[in-house]
């Protein structure tokens, strides 16, 4: 048997299963469940899903220690993207240099043009990268990887 008001009853099922309803409301839901197989099936699923998690032992202490240690150092967004662009450009430039140093269709070795080298080297010399700590570099690489 299904009931047009099943949406209303199904809305109440999480609170019914968890014991959060007042007694009279719980009795009303129970009475509906006796008559409605659709809602009974859904109540069975909600019951299977009802498993409030408890934090593992020791987590509270670890969290408090981490909180007391203060916020982790973060690279600012602007700096992060600027440096990501720097690294990406350097990688692309490096790739172009590699191709430039290869052979042309005639099998002749092609010389590297100084104009292509200079921008990559100047970017690699950007003090921003060298000023980063190891942690900041790892955070930047993770960001680029996502």
């Amino acid at each position: 048997m299904t009931n047009r008001d099943c949406g209303r009853w199904q809305d109440a099922l999480p609170d019914y299963v968890a014991g959060r309803l007042r007694p009279e409301a719980a009795r009303a839901v129970a009475a509906h469940l006796e008559a409605c197989s659709e809602c009974r099936d859904e109540a069975a699923l909600v019951t299977a899903l009802f498993a409030p998690a408890r934090a593992p032992a020791g987590l509270a202490e670890r969290v408090l220690t981490a909180v007391q240690a203060g916020p982790r150092p973060r690279v600012s967004h602007t700096r992060r993207y600027a440096l990501a662009a720097t690294v990406a450009f350097a990688l692309i430039s490096g790739s172009l240099l590699w191709r430039q140093a290869g052979q042309n269709e005639g099998g002749e070795t092609v010389a590297i043009e100084p104009g292509v080298i200079e921008p990559a080297e100047s970017l690699l010399r950007d003090p921003g990268l060298y000023a980063l700590s190891e942690e900041e570099l790892l955070a930047l690489l993770e960001e680029m990887g996502t």
Binding site: L49, A51, A55, A60, V63, L64, P71, T146
Partner: protein, 191 residues
């Protein structure tokens, strides 16, 4: 008697949450510990359902609480502290999920240690119940993260759709639809 955090129990237990937040904002260790104690299960529970992995959930819970308690100046009281904190938790869970290789292992939250209930008459009923619960949790991981979060917040944390909408950043109506769609999909997967 001192509890495991080194605090005297009930030291600031009678303070309301606004007072705890003010004190925590000023760096009061006891107040911070109380806030963690009050909200850690909810934070961990949401992270666990979204990530489906206990270790990742612990990382996300820690990240969320560190961000929240070290950034209390950002809490303006427009929503409840729990709502604000759970929104941060959802973001932390997403970050952790993106950063690490996702493992689809899901374990029952009741499986922490041997349960004497399994050695008494009626234990087979309990076993069936646990197996059904494990199946449901596995299927839950196949829902989109937002639906997982909504289902967890509605069923296990008892939040209304208005509050859920604030946490997952959608309207109350959309939260209700997400919940019912999630449940409908789960029912189909469980058949």
């Amino acid at each position: 008697m001192v509890n495991s955090t080194g605090l005297q129990p009930r030291g600031v237990a009678e303070f309301d949450e606004a007072t705890l937040i003010e004190r925590a904002r000023a760096g009061d260790r006891d107040a911070r510990a109380r806030l963690i104690e009050r909200h850690l299960d909810a934070v961990y529970g949401l992270a666990l359902r979204v990530l489906g992995d206990r270790d990742l959930a612990q990382d996300a819970a820690q990240d969320a609480l560190v961000n929240a308690l070290n950034g209390l100046e950002r809490f303006r009281g427009e929503a409840s502290f729990r709502t604000w904190l759970l929104r941060i938790t959802l973001n932390a869970a997403r970050s952790v999920g993106r950063r690490r290789t996702r493992r689809r292992e899901v374990r029952l939250v009741t499986d922490e240690h041997d349960d004497p209930r399994l050695e008494v008459p009626g234990a087979d009923v309990e076993l069936v119940r646990r197996e059904e619960a494990a199946r449901a949790m596995e299927r839950l991981q196949e829902l989109p993260p937002k639906q997982r979060a909504v289902v967890e917040l509605r069923i296990n944390q008892g939040l209304g759709y208005a509050e859920i909408g604030k946490i997952v950043n959608c309207s109350e109506g959309a939260a209700r639809v997400n919940y019912h769609l999630g449940i409908k999909r789960l029912r189909e997967m469980m058949q």
